[in-house]
Amino acid sequence: MNRSTCISVLAALVVAPALLAQSITVSPKNDSVVAGQAKQYAATVTGLSNTSVNWYAGGVKGGNSTVGTISSAGLYTAPLNLPAQNPVQIMARSQQSTNVAGATYINILAKGPTISSVSPNPIPTGNLVVTITGTGFLAGAQVIETYAPYGSIALTTTSVTPTSVTASGWQGTGTTAAFMVKNPGSGWSNTIYVPIATSGYYNLSVVGGTGTGTYTKGTVVPIKATPASGQTFQYWSGPNVTDPYSAATTVTMSDQSITVTANYTTGPTYSLSVVNGSGSGNYAQGTVISIKAGAPPAGQMFQSWTGATVASATSPNTTIAMPAAATMVTANFVSIPVPTMSTVSPAIIPTGIYTLTINGTNFQTGTVATLGGTPLSTVVVSASQLRATGLNSAAGTANLFVTNSGVNSNAISMQLGPLNPQVSYNAARHFLQQAAFGPSAGDTTNVQQLGIQGWLTQQFNAPKVSSYAGIANQNSFTPQFLTNAVTNPDQLRQRVAFALSQILVTSITKNIWTTTTAPFEEMLMADAFQNYRQILSDVTLAPAMGQFLDMANNAKANANGTILPNENYAREVMQLFTIGTAMLNIDGTRKLDANNAAIPTYDQNTIANFAKVFTGWTYTPPSGGAVVWGSYINPNAPMVPYPAMHDTTQKTLLQYATPPGVLTVLPAGQSPQADLDQAIDNIFYHPNVAPFVSRQLIQHLVKSNPTPAYVQRVAQVFNNNGSGVRGDMQAVITAILLDPEARQNDQPGMTQTKDGHLQEPALFVAGVLRALGAYIDNTNYFAYELSNMSQDVYNAPSVFNYFSPGYQIPGAGIGGPEFQIYTPYSAIYRDNLISNLFGAWNNNIATYGPGTSIDLTPFVALAGTPQTLVDALDLTFTGGTARSGLKTILLNAVTAESGGNLRRAQTGLYLLLSSSYYNVWN
């Protein structure tokens, strides 16, 4: 049974015997068909016994070639050309009753275009431009793309020619895309399936030429302009074209899709002739042509363009706007000027990172300085000045010259490292970790030239420079402290005074006023190289201490004895400042009694007696008047006696075998001053003082866990400087810093497992800034940071300092005073501080608040070679002693850093300064 019969039968079945109106319905209603294609129609006849119909197209029974033909079974075949009357009527008329008919219309669509290929193939993902070639494209052609799972997507048509259509859109990931095109009012073309590229393929779209396709990054694609008749190729616009003025050239693919366009002119063109350069061709007026001077002859360099007006006559690469005439431009060359150097500073190239300033003549773009055969990272400041950065790890001399394109200057022989160095670079850096706030370039050279003993002598004789004059408020101490520590030359004085300030503690926490605290800390700096006896008496009478530990206005007992002298200072001067609570051997270990128990140095009765000694002192009257009991603090002068409030009874002090003239019992009736002097002597000559104070100074300067032998060697010097003087701070400091145990790590590989001490926060910040040669002034923001790391300078929580000399690191089985404020939180805080300093700034100069800036340029200049950068970091921060394992970690990270040379320098700094190896100074 064929199809029409079937439909007839169906129609017959539908017709019921009931009386119905007579009618015919034609289906499908109002359809469309592409020219030349067929469409089956059916007629539903109602109310007639005979359901046979005759079919008409365009009113013509059976139709014809103009309106299309229709068979007796209702199969319509559209005409090949669109009829004048479109749509065409399709009608079925009853054979039984010819006045009964039904009709509909069919719209004859133009035949769609035929497509033959899609380019690029495969289709890249991401933003997409496709060119579809074929035939029959008309203006307004529309491209549709279908791919799973997104369905059909209409692309935006950008250009149409009869044989190609270009459209843009976005391609997601998938496997296959299908493309169809239709013209306005036409049917769809055939379908072409194109695979979708996996990632890494990018689209090159060549407009007006050949070469369109999908390519991986780095592919060099030949492209060729295809001018139409009457067109003259002008230039290529778009990125990555090798020679924009050559009709046949190449494009190098990058990691994104690109479009290049061949530009043509149909108007008149004029010849451009570029002599000694490139860019010649025929161009329309106004075309802007890039012209490039060719390689100059040996010994010569580009000088200027002549012959026509160019954008920049003195630039070898410039442009010219094409005049309306044949034009010739000439690149002129001249002999390269010979650079000369006149002066170089510094005269001695230090070890580690250095930057030279070179003055001379004829410096020009591209001038490079070379030292010892190694080109330096060179910045041309002006025609008469260069700045060159390098890394030096050699000693001796090396020739320095500069080069202009192969033409060398005079040579200057440069000294590498100090002349006749007394100690090695490593040793100087290591020493300065103990004797200064870490090594700076300048102090390293000083130590190398003077030797350690020579440098110590210089420091002992140098005046106090650091001061807190004129600081604004409590919060100014830390910024001023760091500024002094980073920049001032009185390094040893400051470092020792900082240690003393943590042994003989006063704190802003109780003293409140800047004017109280500043004189005390200045006094410690002034006294740092004096005798410890002097320090002890100055501290005792300091107004800040008088206030902090309540010796000021400390009255003798009242008449009925219900109020007794304050014992605060009496206790702490012994417990914390001089002898401690237990009897010590000369090597700092505890003496033990027959029961292996510690032997107390004093008892409560001793404290009560010393409390009596420290009565009857008050503040100096500010205006020089009579001394007033209970007066308000005058921080600018030592406390003065007020005899009426002094306890004049007998005082029993520390009992031990005192040297001649040192009393253990003070007789009744003495003046406040006599009692004070004799009581301080009684403490000062106690055998505990030397090991007690020596060990703490060693802990602050050198190491947390000195051997008893080291303590003993220093304590013996404390007891006798060789000239019979006890407490000579210069001798003690020298003994600490020259001791073999302090110096054994001057060369790498000598470190013992218990060596070193954790850098406390103030030392850490100052040390980083000094090593980097940072700029700092007292507007810096580090007060906040140090406070958050529990070392607000001169504001310890109590007389017990920020940390205790006896602090044992929980779980580590070793002492480490600074670890008491190194919590998991503050450790991460310190890392994050470093990250904030160096982590994310896109500028070689890292600023940190207004008062700090750090120039990373020397590191960035070396970062092109990771090993050189790591060597520079090692020389700068670990004195060239970093273990190979640490350097490997840094090298791997710096090599893996993909963000460029600045990021490499930042990452290297971040990791090294975050490392525990750097944070613990050995």
Binding site: L564, I889, E897, S916, Y917, N922
Partner: protein
């Protein structure tokens, strides 16, 4: 009633167990950002047994003036007039005091800035312990006190000194210097029973704690209000991630370097662990007062309590700090005096209690105040008060037998009239020792009375070792 509480906890535990597995996976994934240093055994977190409990120490640094926090109105021993006479210009008007009663029928008044505390007290969730302070042995009056010279081992060292008394309150060791605090020792003692699967420190320092939180083995986590600090310098930078990871595991044989590495490692690990647990936890709905430093710390404590199961902890101790109580002058100033501090305290405590209710752990969490000393009853010439000794403290939580004042509220007379006044200015000998206060909290927390000396070395100097304010 007690059984009901336990059943509720078990249900929570089951839910939390599922949550933990999910969070544990997240944590491991995120931890790879800094490499293997974040690794931990997820399943071990479930060894913790028994009902969860937390202690929260709210430290009022500077020395809170308890007499203006809690004043007598009509009591069996004195009336408002005694308070007004002693306090003179610092006396708060009777009409503005917030009245609270005791079980004995006395009427006291809370500072008018503390209506939240009044509500909690009235609801039976808060109690007050009167005139508590640091003692070595009981000192019934100043005759007992005067028989010992200053510095006697029977007296706290350096009475009236901030630093010493702070150390003593936190260490419960009034003589000399202690390396550990009683919070840390409490955690040490209970670690084996309750925290053997702990992934995170049992003691969390939310604000400026040194001594209290540190035990012989217990090392506190440090979590400020803004949350744990992770490494900010690493981010997605693979080079740095790998570099840090390698640095933290680089063993160069130097003990101090290894110790520093270990601490850095703890910082990274603990921050990762807690950040991930907190990120996966539902947000706390309880509204905390804004701009309230103590409230912020307590909110962080509540959030950490909320992830206790993920952290594997059955016992936790928190330390929060509110400073500024050293009110030597202008104590009644509405901006710089004690007044706004008490307001912050009251509002923060109330929000914290509500948060524990939200978390279903109100019965399991007890907060208590501490402060180095009280202040003189007699004002000084600067409309302020000076350092003294005993003071009054607040205990808050669902297990507190609240609505009552424990201990002995002192007579507010000065000089010869008051046997407790050791300076003539109203520096009152505590009638309850810190050891007794701590012992009561410690027993609720799971320490048997016989074992109290392990945590509180001097506790046996005092007969009453459970003051009964916790049920």
């Amino acid at each position: 009633m007690e059984l009901g509480t336990i059943e509720k906890k078990e249900i929570m535990t089951m839910k939390s167990r599922r949550d933990f597995l999910r969070i544990g996976v997240n944590t491991l994934t995120a931890a790879t950002a800094v490499g293997a240093i974040g690794k931990f055994s997820a399943m071990n977190a479930w060894a913790a047994t028994g009902p969860y409990q937390a202690l929260v120490c709210v430290y009022l640094s500077g020395g809170n003036d308890g007499h203006n926090m809690l004043a007598p109105i009509t009591t069996s021993q004195q009336n408002y007039t005694a308070y007004a006479a002693a306090r003179q210009g610092l006396a708060i008007p009777q009409a503005s005091l917030l009245q609270i009663g005791t079980k004995k029928g006395d009427t006291y008044g809370l500072n008018p800035m503390m209506p939240e505390l009044q509500s909690l007290y009235t609801a039976g969730k808060a109690a007050i312990l009167a005139n508590v302070g640091m003692l070595v042995i009981p000192l019934p009056d100043k005759n007992a006190f005067n028989q010992y010279p200053a510095g006697s081992p029977n007296l706290p060292v350096n009475l009236f000194s901030h630093s010493d008394q702070t150390s003593q309150w936190q260490s419960a060791q009034p003589n000399g210097v202690s390396a550990t605090g009683w919070g840390g020792r409490l955690a040490d003692f209970l670690a084996g029973s309750y925290n053997s699967a702990g992934q995170f420190p049992a003691v969390v320092n939310n604000g400026g704690c040194g001594l209290y939180c540190t035990g012989a083995q217990t090392l506190p986590g440090v979590v400020p209000s803004q949350g744990p600090a992770g490494l900010t310098g690493v981010g997605n930078n693979v080079a740095r991630q790998q570099g840090i990871q390698q640095l933290l595991t680089f063993d160069n044989g130097l003990q101090l370097v290894q110790a520093a590495n270990s601490i850095q490692n703890r910082g990274v690990t603990e921050a990762n662990l807690l950040n991930n647990a907190l990120a996966a936890a539902p947000a706390l709905q309880t509204v905390f007062p804004s701009g309230n430093q103590l409230g912020n710390q307590l909110k962080m404590a509540a959030r950490i309590i909320g992830v206790r199961s993920q952290l594997g902890l059955g016992r936790q101790i928190f330390f929060c700090n509110l400073g500024g109580f050293d009110t030597h002058s202008n104590q009644l100033n509405a901006y710089t005096g004690q007044t706004p501090l008490l307001q912050q305290l009251s509002q923060a405590l109330a929000a914290f209690y509500n948060a524990t209710v939200e978390l279903g752990v109100a019965q399991n969490v007890t907060a208590f105040t501490a402060s180095e000393f009280g202040r003189t009853v007699m004002p000084n010439g600067n409309a302020g008060t000076d350092h003294a000794w005993g003071s009054h403290h607040i205990i808050l939580g669902g297990s507190v037998l609240g609505g009552d004042i424990y201990g002995q509220y002192p007579m507010l007379t000065t000089g010869n009239a008051n046997p407790l006044d050791v300076t003539g200015r109203g520096s009152l000998i505590p009638t309850t020792a810190v050891d007794q206060y701590a012992a009561t909290l410690a027993q609720w927390f799971g320490v048997a009375q016989a074992n109290l000396p392990a945590v509180l070395p001097n506790v046996n100097n005092f007969a009453a070792q459970n003051l009964g304010f916790l049920g």
